[in-house]
Subunit: 452 residues, 2 copies
């Protein structure tokens, strides 16, 4: 107990493993990985580049290979499973639950899958088939198809005996389901009540209508609902109210985390698959797409500047100040974009509050626009001493910052209407808008006011 | 049950509430909010601007005011609690558990606090005092101080009877703690085993050494450890191994979510406090700080450009292409920064893997740098037909993108050493580096190659 309490940090554990790998101390590694949780082993595999990862992989105890593969990031799972024989995969899926089997089999080839299916325990196989029949991002795909079901009219004591005789609860069981003869869900009873309440009472008395998820609901929506309600688990029913499984919070935590990760990655132009230890070429390739898109928009901005060569030739100070206008618009817009995308994820943007939000962003944009227009105008005056330049940049800052705030809300709303993930392309489109508008307003005004 | 299963989306519920507020239909609102979870009520309060929020607040059932206040975002809690009398607060904290009381009392004034303390049930009061003695970001502050404890050597049946007689388990109980006479934690037993196993067996047989958290550990670190291990809960002990409470996953989900939110906000220059429905002036003010910092760095970049007025006056095409160099560096750098900050949050960066990561980023930067240098050089040649300009921009792109990738890992590592949150200032520093390096390399090379 005390050893566990003296928790050594994730970083310290990593450094220890690194030393073993460097020394190629295989037996040391073998000991370091013995008696560890599969989740930890998976995390360590993810914390090494491919060439060192293999030493860790070889030291994973055979009995945990399956659980570790089910747990680890998809690219690593694929890497290790691609060359496996039917016999290897069959060995690995032994003892896994249906969710884990489905996860593991997702990356193997179809002909192999059929053979492995046949080796599975009949109950697990039918559960795996249930899971795989659902679309990838639905609750049905992520749920645990195994539940403990009892009928109405039995006593708590009888339920306890039933559970004990059939050894029914597994590690993830949270509540007992009460169903009718056609498996329609009538209610659930918590383990807490099962233990705490008078044992002669009937389940009817303590069952309650738990918050229930539909099997075809999007899993990210389910995750945010459960999170908001602080629920540990929810029964899952199909459209006819028939119980098909349960969704546990442990599955959802991963999804929640994934969702926030995605938003962060998408907004910075990093693809879903890239991890810290992805190989060089894979990283270069996955980032290349975003660099290409960015290049196109950068040249669009350059083309706008190109229209104003005449004024730039005469007043070189404009070239010096030009990036300031674009940059202030860019930051103002991305502040709004971030707040709006978060609000969308929480389901807070709907109906007529859009009008209020546009109005808010307009006024925030104008307020900050006026303030920073004055500051920038003053600095420019001190620098170049030309009132026309100061006037031009002040107006351009005000226009671009106000427009940036409005674009920061308009762009994600439009993308959502078009069913495009606003985090994915919102930042790129926004930067294009603020760059183009910044250069256009600044150099356009300069042409009007200074050149004529 | 079926009603619950026909889940109406968060957006639909909001639109319904908006209609009631617009019609000032107070009794409609009152009905809409009756029999709802406090977590939902809190979420709705957060989904309206201040002037409309008040109508929702008035319709919250009196019995749920305390739970809703404990649940809602801190600025809203402060807003409603600032003017409350001792009597109001005393009424509100009735029936709350220690964690909720601590949360609510955090925002009231000290003299009020003492009076409210005296009104509390003695057990709750001592628990609140335990919680408030911990630092704000520690496990001790977030834990549930109430646990169910039994001694070694008793049978499962005896534990069940003990729980039943004293009505000991609450909604959040996960496991039963086994302690010695000095409350040192010896192990825990799950409710699942308590129900499932032979009732004559002793707790000793089924207790296990659960993963235990230290009360002074940082709560964000605890959250990431529990998440990685997919644990629903963990006992919390102090440095002497004495059981002081338990940490439940529901508390941690919130923290996890908060952490990802923070990273996203910080990287976009949005302050922690800003929410979608923050008032205009508050939003303008909180964003203003970041706009100011950005302005300083933008003028730094402008100052760099200002050093090269001579070459810009002669070759106006440089002014046109200049933003392309800065923009490509900016994207390349922020891709690296995002991957590195995520890896840090997962505890994946430690020891000698930093060398590997620098090496990786160098090669990713060089690879993408060469490719995009050629592309940009070609486009520039087609546009301006000047081989010198194409050469200059190609070299500048290669230099800036490679440097950007290295800065993307060096900056967060340095900030972490300085104990500064890398998400908070990483993006601003990075953009400064890529802008300055971009303009410097591009215009500097142009001066050398074209002007001389």
């Amino acid at each position: 107990m005390h050893e566990e309490a003296q928790f050594s940090s994730a970083e310290e554990q990593l450094v220890y493993l690194q030393a073993l790998i460097e020394a190629e101390d295989h037996s040391g590694l073998y000991h370091a990985l013995a008696d560890k949780e599969s989740a930890d082993l998976a995390r360590w595999l993810e914390s090494f580049p491919a060439n060192q990862r293999h030493q860790i992989w070889l030291a994973v105890p055979d009995s945990q290979l399956g659980e570790v593969l089910a747990e680890v990031a998809e690219d690593i799972r694929t890497e290790y499973m691609t060359d496996m024989s039917v016999a290897d995969v069959t060995e690995i899926v032994k003892g896994l639950d249906a969710q884990e089997v489905a996860e593991v089999l997702d990356v193997v080839e179809d002909h192999l899958k059929t053979e492995v299916y046949e080796s599975l325990d009949e109950i697990i196989r039918s559960q795996v088939e249930v899971l795989q029949a659902y679309d990838e991002d639905t609750v049905g795909r992520y749920m645990d198809p195994e539940t403990v079901n009892v009928k109405q009219g039995v006593s708590l004591e009888a339920v306890q005996r039933f559970v004990r005789i059939h050894k029914l609860l597994d590690d993830e069981s949270q509540e007992i389901m009460v169903t009718d003869k056609d498996k329609h869900l009538l209610g659930t009873i918590t383990l807490i009540d099962l233990v705490k309440q008078n044992q002669d009472a009937l389940v009817d008395e303590f069952m309650y209508k738990a918050f229930t998820l539909n099997d075809n609901m999007k899993v990210s929506e389910a995750a945010s609902v459960l999170r908001a309600r602080e629920l540990y688990f929810a029964p899952v029913t199909n459209v006819e109210g028939v119980l098909v499984g349960q969704l546990n919070i442990a599955d959802i935590i991963e999804i929640t985390q994934d969702d926030s990760d995605m938003t962060l990655k998408h907004m910075s132009g990093v693809s879903d698959e890239e991890e810290l230890f992805s190989p060089i070429l894979q990283s270069a390739k996955s980032r290349g797409i975003w660099l290409g898109i960015n290049l196109a928009t950068a040249f669009l901005a350059a083309a706008v500047i190109g229209q104003f060569e005449a004024v730039l030739e005469q007043v070189v100070a404009l070239a010096v100040l030009m990036p300031v206008v674009a940059s202030m618009g860019g930051i103002a817009g991305s502040q709004t974009l971030t707040v709006v995308i978060r609000g969308m994820a929480l389901g807070q943007i709907a109906g007529n509050n859009r009008v209020w939000l546009f109005n808010k962003e307009l006024w925030v944009g104008l307020t900050n626009g006026v303030i920073w227009a004055l500051v920038v105008g003053l600095i420019s005056h001190l620098w170049f001493g030309d009132p026309k330049i100061s006037l031009v940049i002040s107006i351009a800052i005000l226009v671009n910052m106000t427009l940036a705030n409005l674009a920061g809300i308009a762009i994600p709303l439009m993308l959502k209407k078009l069913k495009i993930d606003p985090a994915l392309s919102g930042a790129v489109i926004l930067t294009t808008v603020t760059d183009v508008a910044g250069f256009l307003s600044f150099l356009g005004l300069a042409t009007l006011i200074i050149l004529h």
